[in-house]
C-alpha cells in the first residue's frame, strides 16, 4: 500500500507543480497555456545537458536559466506587447515538441540514460528531493498568496490592474515576475521527469500534464488546497484502474483517457452546480497604462 501511494505521489507531482506554476501566473492575471511545451523543452534541455556532462547541477542550472529566458520572452510578448495569450501559449506547445525532439535527436541520439538525483532519507523514508520541494511549495504558495503583502499585490494586479496602477504598483512588472516564476516551476518539472522519474527523454514525457493543469486550476476554483487534492485524485484513477484490471477487463487507452475525461466532466459539473467563481477578474487581459495627463 505504501508502495502504491509513493508511486502515485511521484507520478502526480509533475501535475501538481505545473498546476501551482499556472496558478501563480493566473493569480497575476496571465494565462500560460504553453505549460506542456515549456515542460517538454526543459525536459529535453535537462536530458541533453545531463547526458553529455553527467552533471545534475549543471542540468538544473541550465533548466532554470532557460526557463527564465523563456518566461521573460513570453512575458514581454504577452504582457508588455499585449499579444494574444492563447496564441502565444499554443505556439509554445508546438515549439516545445519541435525543439525538444530536435535537441535530443541532435545532441543525445540513441538510448542514453540520464544521471539520477539521489534520494534523501527523511523519517525512515527514502524521498525524492523534488517531491519534498513540491510538498513544501503548496503551503508556501498558500501562505504567500493569502497572508502576505506580496500575495495581495499579485492578486490585485490580477483582479484590478487599473486600481493597482493608481496606488503605485508596477502592474506589468509584477505580472512578468509572476510569469517567470511560474515558468521556472513548470521548467523544473521537466528537469524532475528526466533526472528523477524516467531518466530518458521522449516528447510525450510530460503526458499531457500541462493541459490537465489548465483545467485543474479552473476545477479547483483557483484554490491551492483543492489543486493538491484534485491532482492526486485524478492520477489515482489511473492506478486504481490498473489495479482493477486484475479482475475486470479495462482497455489501457480508457485508463489513460480517464484523468482527462474525468477532469472535463468534473469541470462541467462544477460550473453547473458550483459556487461563485474565484477567477481573477482581469485574467488574460493585457494591461496598458492609461495616460492621466
Amino acid at each position: 500500500m505504501i508502495g502504491l501511494i509513493s508511486t502515485l505521489i511521484s507520478v502526480a507531482i509533475p501535475l501538481l507543480v505545473i498546476t501551482i506554476g499556472l496558478l501563480i501566473c493566473e493569480k497575476a492575471g496571465v494565462w500560460n497555456f504553453g505549460a506542456e511545451g515549456i515542460a517538454v523543452s526543459t525536459a529535453a534541455i535537462a536530458y541533453v545537458v545531463s547526458v553529455n556532462t553527467g552533471s545534475i547541477s549543471l542540468s538544473l542550472l541550465t533548466v532554470i536559466l532557460f526557463s527564465i529566458f523563456l518566461g521573460l520572452l513570453l512575458g514581454i510578448l504577452m504582457i508588455h506587447l499585449g499579444l494574444d495569450q492563447v496564441v502565444v501559449g499554443v505556439s509554445i506547445i508546438i515549439f516545445g515538441y519541435g525543439f525538444g525532439e530536435f535537441l535530443s535527436d541532435m545532441f543525445a541520439p540513441g538510448f542514453l540514460v540520464a544521471p539520477e538525483i539521489t534520494t534523501i532519507n527523511l523519517f525512515l523514508f527514502e524521498i525524492k528531493p523534488f517531491i519534498l520541494f513540491a510538498f513544501l511549495l503548496i503551503p508556501l504558495t498558500w501562505f504567500i498568496l493569502n497572508k502576505t503583502r506580496l500575495g495581495l499585490i499579485i492578486q490585485s494586479v490580477g483582479d484590478y490592474p487599473v486600481g493597482s496602477d493608481m496606488v503605485g504598483i508596477k502592474v506589468n512588472r509584477i505580472r512578468i515576475a509572476c510569469f517567470i516564476f511560474g515558468t521556472i516551476l513548470i521548467g523544473l518539472t521537466g528537469f524532475y521527469l528526466v533526472n528523477s522519474e524516467y531518466l530518458v527523454f521522449n516528447i510525450s514525457i510530460v503526458g499531457g500534464a500541462g493541459f490537465l493543469a489548465i483545467a485543474l486550476v479552473r476545477l479547483a476554483n483557483w484554490r491551492e488546497d483543492l489543486i493538491t487534492i484534485f491532482a492526486l485524485v485524478f492520477y489515482s484513477f489511473v492506478y486504481i484502474s490498473r489495479f482493477l484490471r486484475m479482475w475486470i477487463s479495462i482497455p489501457e487507452e480508457v485508463i489513460y483517457m480517464s484523468p482527462f475525461l474525468l477532469t472535463l466532466i468534473s469541470y462541467a459539473l462544477s460550473l453547473k452546480w458550483g459556487k461563485k467563481t474565484r477567477e481573477p477578474l482581469s485574467l488574460g487581459k493585457a494591461y496598458r497604462k492609461v495616460s492621466t495627463s
Binding site: 497555456f33 519541435g98 483545467a215
Partner: protein, 321 residues
C-alpha cells in the same frame, strides 16, 4: 497593397532567411544543400511533391478550422482532435464499411463537426472555457484513436503496431488541392463577404456592441465551431485518403495545433491562408527532404516549425511597435 499585406510578405521573407541562417550555423550542410533540400527537393521528387500538396491541403483545413471560430472570439484549439476524429470516422467508412472516397469525406466532416459541437455546447450552455475543453478533448481523441486502431474491426490483427487495416479509399492529389481551394473561397465569402461574417467579426471584436445590435452570439458560436470542426474533419479525410494508407495515432501528430500557427500567420484573413499553409508545408516536407538528402534528423521538420513560430512572434513585435 495594404500594410497587412506588406507585413505578411515581410514575415515570410524574414522567416525563410532566419531558418536558412540557423540551419547553416547548426547543420553540417552547406547553404546550397540546405536551399536545395528545403525548397527544391519537395518539388523535384515526385513522391515528395505529392505528399507536399496533400500536407498543404491539410494545413489549409486546420488553419481555417482555427480561423473561422477565432473570428467570433472562440478559441478552437481542438483542430488536432477534430482532425483525428475525422480521420478515425473516415477510416471506419473506408476500411470497415468499404465506402468510396466521397462518402468517406462526408463522414469525416460529420465526425469533426460533432466533436467541435461538444465544445461549443459546453461553451454556450455552461460558459465553459473553450480552450480548456478543446485541449482536453484533443487528448481524449488521441486515446480513442489508439483504442480503435488496436482492436478489430479497424485495428490490424496481423500487426503488432497500433495501426489500422489498409484503407482502400484514395484521392488523387489534384482533388486535395481542389478541396483546399474550394474551402478557401467558401471561407472568404463566409467571413469577408456575408452577413454571417460581418456578425462574426462584430462579435469577436466587440461582444457588447454585438449584443446591442441584436446579434445572436449562441448561434454564431455553435455555427462557427461546427463549420471549423467540419473543415478540420475534412483535413482528417485528406490525411487517410491521401497521405497515409492506414491510420496510426502518430501519423497526424501536431497537424491540428500547427493550424493555429497558419491562421495566426495569415493574420486571421482567409485569403492569406494558402500562403501561410504553403510555407508551413514547405518547412514540414523540406525538413524530411533534408533528412533524405543530408541525413539530418527527421525531427528537423518540427524544429523548423518551431523556428517559424519564434520568428512569427518576433515579427509581431515589429508590427506592434
Amino acid at each position: 497593397m495594404s500594410a497587412k499585406t506588406y507585413y505578411i510578405i515581410g514575415v515570410y521573407a524574414l522567416v525563410i532567411i532566419v531558418a536558412l541562417l540557423l540551419m547553416s550555423i547548426f547543420l553540417p550542410l552547406t547553404i546550397t544543400d540546405i536551399f536545395k533540400g528545403l525548397f527544391l527537393t519537395p518539388f523535384t521528387n515526385s513522391a515528395m511533391r505529392e505528399t507536399f500538396f496533400f500536407i498543404f491541403a491539410i494545413f489549409v483545413c486546420t488553419s481555417l478550422a482555427t480561423l473561422i471560430p477565432f473570428r467570433s472570439g472562440c478559441y478552437n484549439i481542438g483542430g488536432e482532435g477534430q482532425l483525428f476524429i475525422g480521420a478515425l470516422i473516415g477510416a471506419f467508412a473506408s476500411g470497415v464499411l468499404h465506402m468510396d472516397a466521397i462518402a468517406t469525406f462526408f463522414l469525416s466532416a460529420v465526425g469533426g463537426l460533432v466533436w467541435a459541437l461538444i465544445s461549443a455546447i459546453l461553451k454556450v450552455k455552461l460558459k465553459m472555457d473553450m480552450v480548456v475543453t478543446t485541449l482536453l478533448l484533443n487528448f481524449v481523441t488521441i486515446r480513442i484513436v489508439d483504442y480503435f486502431v488496436s482492436y478489430p474491426p479497424l485495428g490490424d490483427p496481423m500487426s503488432e503496431l497500433e495501426i489500422s487495416v489498409s484503407l482502400p479509399a484514395r484521392i488523387p492529389v489534384y482533388c486535395a488541392i481542389g478541396i483546399s481551394v474550394a474551402l478557401i473561397f467558401f471561407s472568404y465569402f463566409l467571413i469577408v463577404k456575408s452577413r454571417w461574417g460581418y456578425e462574426t467579426k462584430l462579435q469577436g471584436g466587440n461582444p457588447s456592441a454585438a449584443k446591442l445590435a441584436g446579434v445572436n452570439s449562441q448561434k454564431l458560436t455553435l455555427g462557427n465551431m461546427c463549420i471549423g470542426g467540419a473543415i478540420a474533419g475534412l483535413g482528417g479525410g485528406i490525411l487517410i485518403t491521401g497521405v497515409i494508407v492506414a491510420l496510426n495515432p502518430g501519423s497526424g501528430f501536431l497537424l491540428g495545433y500547427i493550424g493555429l500557427l497558419g491562421a495566426f500567420m495569415a493574420k486571421l484573413e482567409p485569403q492569406f491562408v494558402p500562403f501561410s499553409s504553403f510555407l508551413i508545408a514547405l518547412f514540414w516536407i523540406g525538413g524530411r527532404a533534408l533528412h533524405v538528402v543530408g541525413g539530418i534528423s527527421i525531427s528537423l521538420s518540427l524544429f523548423l516549425i518551431a523556428v517559424l513560430i519564434i520568428a512569427t512572434l518576433l515579427t509581431e513585435i515589429i508590427w506592434r511597435v
